[in-house]
């Protein structure tokens, strides 16, 4: 009868084990992903955009084509490798712009008075309630599709989440005693933000970036699947799934590989983000659980 035991008595050792597993798997998957993208600049099995009629629809595990070829005879491995580049460009690009804009707006909201805070926070609330996928469609309608439009759309609807997270992290830091003493010492607001606040919220920023890198890859794949994301000669995993469904039917192995690639990479980045959060920001541990 353990009536008095607190409901969540997690043994410390197990918690630590848990956290490391998440981080290690995340790091391994992410490094593998980055390495494949880098290798693709120096070596590819064949040109992923040039059709080869003689080698159409080769099955997986063919000697020249490890994962086979698509309906036009283009090598799947080569396409997957170049697709990794697109994922990084668009996912990291969107998350980076959102990080910069979100940091600026979040810090201003946290440090520049009640009016700025109210305006920025309410603005972020509004933007958060706009469905990103639909906004991206509007952008594609007016600007045409492509990697640049996709990055722009992603950063537009990721920024408000960054603003929120960075604002609340910065507010926490701004209440600390060392900020008061820096103010008493005569330091200006910008100096305090740059020298004291940003280093102290860097962990939150890194975690947020990692998680939205993953979200960006998922969204880019979705947009390219719909045909409003990146277009050839760029290659996207979402686009490959679209082509597989259009040209050869979904039951072919062509519809398996790009999906698996997306799952591994997104899972890796999410685990990395969660693992980093536990390491970098012990206060947030519970929420990430």
């Amino acid at each position: 009868m353990t009536v008095t035991a607190p409901a969540v008595a997690v043994p410390k050792r197990r918690r630590r084990l848990d956290l490391n597993a998440s981080l290690v798997v995340g790091v391994v998957l992410t490094i593998g992903f980055l390495a494949i993208a880098i290798i693709s600049f120096f070596w590819l099995p064949s040109n992923p955009n040039i059709p080869n009629i003689k080698a159409r629809m080769m099955p997986p595990f063919s000697p020249d084509h490890w994962l086979g070829t698509d309906g036009l005879g283009r090598d799947i491995v080569a396409q997957l490798m170049v697709g990794a580049r697109t994922s990084i460009l668009v996912g990291a690009g969107g998350a980076s712009i959102a990080l910069v804009l979100g940091t600026i707006t979040g810090l201003v909201a946290a440090a520049y008075g009640k009016f700025a805070d109210e305006a920025i926070s309410r603005g972020a609330d509004i933007l958060l309630s706009i469905p990103g996928m639909v906004t991206a469609l509007v952008l594609a309608a007016t600007m045409g599709s492509g990697a640049f439009t996709t990055i722009l759309a992603l950063s537009a609807f990721f920024t408000p989440s960054f603003t929120r997270v960075i604002r609340s992290a910065a507010m926490g830091v701004l209440q600390e005693d060392f900020i008061t003493s820096a103010k008493l010492y005569g330091r200006g607001r910008l100096f305090i933000l740059a020298r004291h606040v940003i280093p102290n919220i860097a962990g939150v920023m890194i975690v947020q970036f990692t998680l939205y890198f993953a979200a960006g890859i998922l969204t880019e794949a979705g947009l390219s699947y719909l045909g409003v994301g990146v277009t050839r000669p760029s290659i996207s995993w979402g686009m490959m799934l679209n082509e597989a469904q259009q040209t050869v039917g979904i039951s072919s192995p062509l519809a398996i590989w790009p999906g698996l690639a997306i799952v591994f990479v997104v899972l890796g980045l999410n685990l990395l983000g969660d693992g980093l959060r536990d390491v970098l920001d012990p206060k947030l541990k519970r929420r990430s659980a």
């Binding site: 009536v3 607190p6 409901a7 969540v8 997690v10 043994p11 197990r14 918690r15 848990d18 309410r122 603005g123 609330d125 509004i126 933007l127 958060l128 309630s129 706009i130 469905p131 990103g132 996928m133 639909v134 906004t135 469609l137 509007v138 952008l139 594609a140 309608a141 007016t142 600007m143 993953a214 998922l218 969204t219 794949a221 979705g222 699947y225 719909l226 045909g227 409003v228 979402g238 799934l241 469904q245 039917g249 979904i250 039951s251 519809a255 999906g259 997306i262 799952v263 591994f264 997104v266 899972l267 999410n270 685990l271 519970r286 929420r287 659980a289």
Partner: protein
């Protein structure tokens, strides 16, 4: 409560206004000359000017904006440049596909996520809890359209139980309509569930640490009783909020799933009009969707205020 409701109403109206300006500017600023976009690259300057004059596209932007918004408020969503069909008519026909799909997907997600998330919270630190957390992580990493593709390969192509795509209208054969919706709803619901499980789990974890749960257990309730009788009602608050926030995600998922299963819903219409460069159709339809999402969040906020006095009395 009246004051709280009023504040939320002001926010709702403000949000709709800001969103409408944003959509309008996005289209005008990013797109440039609407008449030129509609007519495409080969259009002559005369043709562009004629179209612009006919539709009032040469007037100052604020005038065009208020024209559009006042029309929307009166139920006039504009019309297609090519087919001259009213946008409102185009939209209404599509809702009989999109609304059942989105709502059933959300419902399925909740039906899975609430018990599973609660179970995972009860078993933190045990292998079963860790396995559920891992399954949820993998589910989050699966793109909803790939889930749709896999399900349609398994149940449509291999087993042949359900259609892999296409649509029969409700009035013709409602059993056929439901059969067409099963796989799309399943894909949407499973992926929603993966995301929601994490939120439910952390909401329940929070509640489990609260004093009132400890008190309930001190007066003799078992852990399960305490959780069901006092805990779940409190955990419901953050879950309601998350559902509000997930509405935007839900609509994104619905857009994509309609494409996977070739359902003639709202998103197929939007995509077709994106391709046809029907700027006004896209602009009005997207605005409708955004108003809907903001409205759901407004209702969620009101609910939250009704459920929790601390929220509505906070300044």
């Amino acid at each position: 409560m009246a004051l709280y409701a009023l504040r939320k109403l002001v926010f709702f109206i403000g949000a709709v206004f800001v969103a409408s300006v944003a959509i309008f500017l996005l289209i005008r600023a990013a797109g440039g000359n609407v008449a030129a976009i509609v007519l495409g690259k080969d259009a002559t300057a005369d043709a562009i000017n004629a179209l612009a004059t006919a539709y009032g596209l040469d007037r100052p932007l604020p005038v065009q904006y208020f024209d559009w918004i006042l029309g929307m408020l009166q139920g006039d969503l504009g019309q297609s440049f090519r087919t001259k069909e009213a946008v409102a008519d185009l939209v209404v026909g599509r809702l009989s596909v999109s609304i059942p799909l989105a709502l059933s997907g959300l419902l399925l997600g909740l039906i899975i996520a609430i018990p599973v998330g609660t179970y995972a919270a009860r078993n933190v630190g045990k292998p079963s809890g860790a396995v559920l957390a891992l399954i949820s992580q993998i589910g989050i990493a699966i793109p909803v359209f790939w889930a749709g593709i896999l399900l349609s390969v398994l149940f449509g192509v291999r087993l042949g139980w359900l259609p892999t795509g296409g649509w029969v209208d409700w009035s013709q054969d409602w059993v056929g309509s439901i059969r067409s919706l099963v796989l799309p709803v399943l894909s949407l619901g499973l992926i929603m569930a993966a995301v929601l499980i994490r939120y439910v789990r952390s909401a329940v974890l929070d509640v489990m640490n609260q004093d009132y749960v400890r008190t309930a257990r001190a007066v003799g309730m078992t852990r399960t009783q305490a959780l069901l009788q006092v805990g779940l009602r409190n955990a419901a608050l953050p879950i309601v909020t998350i559902v509000g926030l997930q509405i935007a995600e839900l609509i994104g998922g619905t857009v994509i799933i309609e494409m996977v299963f070739s359902l003639p819903g709202l998103s197929r219409m939007i995509l077709a009009n994106v391709a046809a460069r029907e700027v006004i159709v896209v602009q009005s339809t997207v605005m409708l969707i955004i108003v809907f999402v903001i409205f759901v969040n407004f209702v969620v906020d009101l609910l939250y205020g009704i459920l929790d006095p601390r929220i509505r009395n906070a300044t």
